[in-house]
């Protein structure tokens, strides 16, 4: 596994990205409602896609791929450089879109290209593993889609100055769907096949749902992209049906994991249920945008709503899983530093590394924020979108504070325990008692 600082740095940066995304939706609400192609709207969307979602997913994949592929990253230094170039991309590009100058967009495009090439090379060793099953197979494809997404973005970024071709809405949507479904969506669908059975203690009698989710989603994306790019409706529909079938299998996989679970429902499942509801909303809105006989403005709102719903699907899933992944990474790091007991004096548990009430508040704020944002976009309500954005921003601050503060609280508790004159409970094994504490 890479040093804890690698994935945790990505995830901390993603926390800041989620906060900025909420602020972008809040303060850019009028421009987002006015037109989804307004520079302010494009800036806010790219903060969400890059600074929040891509930064978080890239960090998680740097942790996940070596564990599941059972092969190390090619270079920890390259992972740290990837973080720096990702930060430059995620913040320069949206700033350039929203405020200019144009050179910021080009800087973002160049640093984005470096980021994905570095990440793809660095992860290639772990992803070459032959025994990683569905998760690794899906990740191989999703990393390819990441490279394609950024290649599209880089061409579009330079096209703004060069004027090789007009950046029509259908071309922008092709880029958005490769990123949302091919890169972010496929990564989550693949990784969930490992995480859900593990976190729910579920041993399912079959795994066809997960396999077909990856196959169908991965094969549908090129058709959607080409269909949108060249305005070939039949191709876009073929791809869309395949992707919807794949996402349906993904939902069936979640249902199967819940049915065969061996532990009670908990906070993570709250995030998963709300996240899945947004996925279903995204699918419904995509179908409505494709089929409904409506004017350009209404169709534009439906498509914006679809993109917002898919972002909410992934965003809530990331925030929910972060409450599992961050404590795990922190736990390993704390144990290595000799912190072996939690604040209660009992052996350190993942649950000691975050505050459950704050985690519930995060769920309420982020779920409420995304819901209001989606309704605001569909109803063309600046007020609702603004409130939704503010709730997302506050939710981001709460989750970042909660997860970043857990290890500090545990370290402080261990220090207090090591200097406390009180006797240690006799049920703690000797090797778990911090040095300096009198043993019973």
């Amino acid at each position: 596994m890479p040093p804890a600082s690698v994935p945790l740095s990505f995830l901390a940066l993603a926390g800041a990205g989620m906060w900025a995304f909420g602020l972008g939706a809040w303060f850019g609400a009028d421009r987002i409602i006015e037109s989804p192609t307004h520079p302010g709207a494009v800036g806010a969307v790219h903060v969400g896609m890059l600074a929040f979602l891509t930064t978080a997913v890239l960090g998680a994949v740097h942790q996940f791929a070596p564990v599941v592929g059972r092969r190390a990253l090619r270079s920890v230094l390259a992972a740290r450089i990837t973080l720096v170039t990702m930060a430059i991309t995620a913040w320069a590009l949206p700033s350039g879109f929203a405020h200019g100058p144009e050179r910021l967009i080009q800087l973002g495009a160049i640093s984005g290209s470096i980021t994905v090439l570095l990440a793809a090379w660095n992860l290639s060793g772990a992803l070459a593993s032959k025994d990683g099953g569905v998760p690794v197979a899906g990740l191989r494809l999703s990393i390819i889609y990441l490279v394609i997404t950024v290649a599209f973005g880089a061409v579009y970024a330079f096209d703004r100055q060069a004027g090789w071709f007009p950046l029509l809405p259908n071309r922008v949507l092709a880029h958005a769907h490769i990123g949302l479904l091919g890169w972010l969506g496929l990564t989550y669908v693949a990784v969930a096949e490992k995480l859900w059975p593990m976190f729910l203690l579920a041993h399912r009698p079959h795994e066809w749902e997960g396999k077909w989710a990856v196959r169908l989603l991965a094969s549908g994306v090129p058709f959607i992209a080409v269909g949108l790019l060249f305005e070939i409706k039949a191709l876009a529909w073929i791809g869309g049906i395949a992707a919807i079938a794949g996402l349906g299998c993904h939902i069936a996989s979640l249902a199967s994991a819940i049915k065969h679970r061996r532990r009670a429902l908990e906070l993570l499942h709250g995030f998963l249920f709300v996240s899945t509801a947004f996925l279903i909303a995204g699918i419904v809105l995509a179908v409505a945008a494709g089929l409904a006989d409506v004017d350009y403005t209404t169709r534009s709102r439906l498509v914006s709503g679809e993109v917002a719903a898919l972002a909410a699907w992934l965003g809530l899933a990331i925030v929910g899983h972060a409450h599992k992944i961050v404590p795990f990474i922190s736990y390993t790091s704390l144990r290595a530093k000799g912190v072996r007991t939690g604040p209660s004096g009992k052996p350190l548990m993942f649950g000691d590394l975050f505050n459950l009430s704050l985690a519930k508040a995060t769920l309420a704020l982020s779920a409420g924020g995304f819901t209001l944002s989606l309704v605001g976009i569909l109803a063309a309500s600046t007020v609702l979108l603004s409130i939704g954005g503010a709730a997302i921003a506050v939710g981001a601050m709460v989750v970042t504070y909660n997860l970043a503060g857990g290890p500090r609280r545990a370290t402080q508790a261990a220090r207090t325990a090591s200097t406390s004159p009180q006797p240690t409970p006799s049920n703690i094994p000797a090797h778990l008692i911090p040095k300096g504490v009198p043993q019973p």
């Binding site: 596994m1 203690l201 579920a202 795990f328 548990m349």
Partner: protein, 119 residues
């Protein structure tokens, strides 16, 4: 899954100590000890060698590196407590066959995970 006790008294004492120590190794995600979770398949004591077969809930388990180390540390520490057992060698094997399934959870573990709450 755990073998019947060894015939001689010392081996039985060692075995009890080992299981006692392993009962104090906790899965940090589930908050249950690894014996209640059914992760300990076998404890064998032969000629001063303590051999433990244990598994994990899944090969990519978040604590796949941490938990076996903690288990080994706990057993070594427990055996070092008394002169009769201090010299025993400990070998911990991670085995994947048979794979762990939730059916191996003890009734107490099931109850603590929110199942089988009883009447």
């Amino acid at each position: 899954m755990i073998n019947p006790p060894e015939t001689d008294l010392v081996s039985e004492q060692i075995r009890e100590k080992v299981l006692g120590a392993l009962s104090n190794v906790w899965d940090p995600e589930l908050g249950l000890d690894i014996v209640a979770l059914g992760l300990v398949y076998d404890v064998r004591v032969e000629s001063g060698l303590v051999e433990i077969d244990m598994t994990l809930t899944t090969p990519g388990c978040p604590v796949s590196e941490q938990l076996p180390n903690e288990a080994q540390e706990a057993v070594i520490a427990a055996l070092a407590d008394s002169a009769e057992t201090a010299g025993a060698q400990v070998q911990l094997n991670i085995v994947w066959d048979p794979p762990w399934t939730p059916e191996l959870l003890s009734p107490l573990a099931l109850e603590q995970l929110g199942f089988n709450k009883g009447p």
